[in-house]
């Protein structure tokens, strides 16, 4: 790699847009080239100063009120409980941060949102719809990489939680990438896996109420759907994989989510 190539890629490195191979190339070039190392350092310093500054600000309350007022009147259910739960979701993922124990290999999407227990059937339908949408050309992934350390940071700032991105390559479920999706109107993170030609969507959500629940199986429009919860999260896996293979996937994800040493 020469300095001209490195110049542009330094920014991509800084922005977390490089795959592991290119990131290594840039870093090793910068390690050997004082000029590029200096640029990287300078860029990082400015990035750090910008990250520390409040550049976004807050929209005026009056503006929010005006926009709300322009909407048709809302049904009173739902919204407030979700907002309250965001800090705990963050805390959960910050604390557990589902480490590198898992390896990547499902054609699946993981979607994180708040699924309310009282509308499980509706959510199941939405999950299958999201899966079907994802299969349309160009809709499967927003970030395409088999590197879990690229997928996970990609979700930063896009969803309220850091989704667990699990490497299941060793189990022959290949991590394809991730995307944003919407379930029940909530932005959610989708991590996409593949086994052979079969795409698996795994949706993960904040669980309201009960701490854990066993796996429930459904078949909707010919797609196998598995729903379970643990560690305060809801998981939905959707695929056209055979039922036993999807169960295997669920088992691997579930095992990987459990912190080592605990039950």
């Amino acid at each position: 790699m020469n300095c001209a190539e490195c110049e542009i890629l330094l920014h991509a490195l800084l922005d977390g847009e490089l795959d592991a191979g290119h990131a290594r190339d840039v870093e090793s070039h910068a390690a050997a080239c004082a000029a590029c190392a200096e640029k990287l350092k300078s860029l990082r310093a400015m990035r750090q100063a910008m990250t520390g500054a409040d550049l976004k600000g807050v929209a005026p309350a009056e503006l929010r009120r005006r926009i709300e007022a322009a909407l048709p009147p809302a049904l009173p259910r739902s919204a407030p409980p979700r907002r309250q739960l965001q800090p705990s979701r963050r805390a959960f993922f910050g604390g557990v941060a589902v480490g590198g124990a898992l390896s990547a290999a499902l054609a699946a999407s993981i979607v994180l949102t708040v699924f309310r227990g009282d509308q499980e059937a509706t959510v199941a339908d939405e999950v299958v719809s999201a899966h079907l949408r994802s299969l349309q050309a160009g809709h499967l992934m927003d970030v395409e990489t088999s590197d879990q350390h690229t997928v996970k940071p990609w979700f930063n700032g896009k969803v309220d939680v850091a989704p667990p991105v699990i490497d299941l390559t060793a189990q022959s479920f290949t991590l394809l990438g991730g995307r944003l999706d919407y379930i029940d109107g909530e932005p959610v993170a989708a991590v996409v896996y593949q086994r052979r030609k079969h795409v698996i969507n795994l949706f993960v959500a904040q669980r309201l109420g009960a701490a854990g629940a066993a796996v429930t199986a459904r078949t909707i429009k010919g797609y196998n759907v598995r729903h379970w919860s643990e560690q305060g999260l809801d998981f939905w896996a959707v695929s056209d994989l055979a039922a036993d293979e999807l169960d295997e996937f669920v088992g691997k994800v579930s095992a990987a989510l459990r912190p080592a040493g605990s039950s």
């Binding site: 110049e7 542009i8 920014h11 991509a12 922005d15 847009e17 000029a35 200096e38 640029k39 350092k41 300078s42 860029l43 310093a45 400015m46 990035r47 100063a49 910008m50 500054a53 409040d54 550049l55 976004k56 600000g57 807050v58 929209a59 005026p60 503006l63 929010r64 005006r66 926009i67 709300e68 322009a70 909407l71 048709p72 009147p73 809302a74 049904l75 739902s78 919204a79 979700r82 509706t122 949408r133 809709h139 927003d142 970030v143 990609w154 930063n156 700032g157 896009k158 995307r179 944003l180 999706d181 919407y182 029940d184 109107g185 909530e186 932005p187």
Partner: protein
């Protein structure tokens, strides 16, 4: 499951839940594009009205870039209406000239390339707001709205390669304006 009578309310609820969490992001971009608060508020309100109108046809991929793309169109339409050149030929020329210049020559020429002046938040916001388009929107979408390159490309309607070169140029310009500006002692927080 929802009765016909509730359809509008249900849509409004889904829209509210999906779109309102990004109000701060939308407003921030509007501030940097319009460069003043009253114009920004008008643009944001128009953006949300348009978004609601098109919400039925919304298929993703993500709400935030979708809203920001609408906002950007609203702002550009407003500038076009005023007959201003903020997003027009002026900046196209700037971009062309800028992209022919080697990046980072300022930093290399400076003995303190690795050192960064301290600025308060207001000064940093002002420095960003002073950048010419399209570099301003590119760096704001990246640093303030936290979009990926691909999302920025979609919002701005340009290839990812263009996003990368604009971002590199934007940072070079910001970096040189940054150290040219007075340090934190001069800047008073409003």
């Amino acid at each position: 499951m929802t009765g016909d009578g509730n359809a509008e309310q249900d849509k409004a609820r889904r829209f509210r839940d999906a779109a309102l969490p990004y109000l701060d992001d939308v407003f921030a971009l509007a501030r940097y594009l319009m460069r003043n608060a009253p114009d920004a508020e008008d643009a944001v309100q128009e953006c949300y009205l348009r978004a609601l109108r098109h919400f039925d046809s919304y298929r993703g991929p993500a709400m935030k870039p979708w809203l920001l793309a609408i906002l950007r169109n609203v702002c550009n339409a407003e500038f076009a209406r005023r007959g201003r050149l903020d997003v027009g030929a002026d900046d196209a020329e700037t971009e062309q000239t800028a992209e022919q210049q080697p990046m980072w020559q300022e930093a290399q020429a400076s003995p303190e390339a690795g050192l960064l002046r301290r600025h308060d938040d207001e000064t940093i916001r002002r420095l960003i707001a002073a950048l010419p388009q399209p570099f301003r929107e590119t760096i704001v979408l990246r640093e303030v709205n936290d979009l990926s390159y691909q999302e920025i490309a979609a919002v701005a309607g340009v290839p990812v390669g263009t996003v990368m070169s604009r971002l590199a140029r934007a940072r070079a310009m910001l970096r040189s304006a940054w150290n040219a500006a007075e340090g934190s002692t001069a800047g008073a927080t409003p």
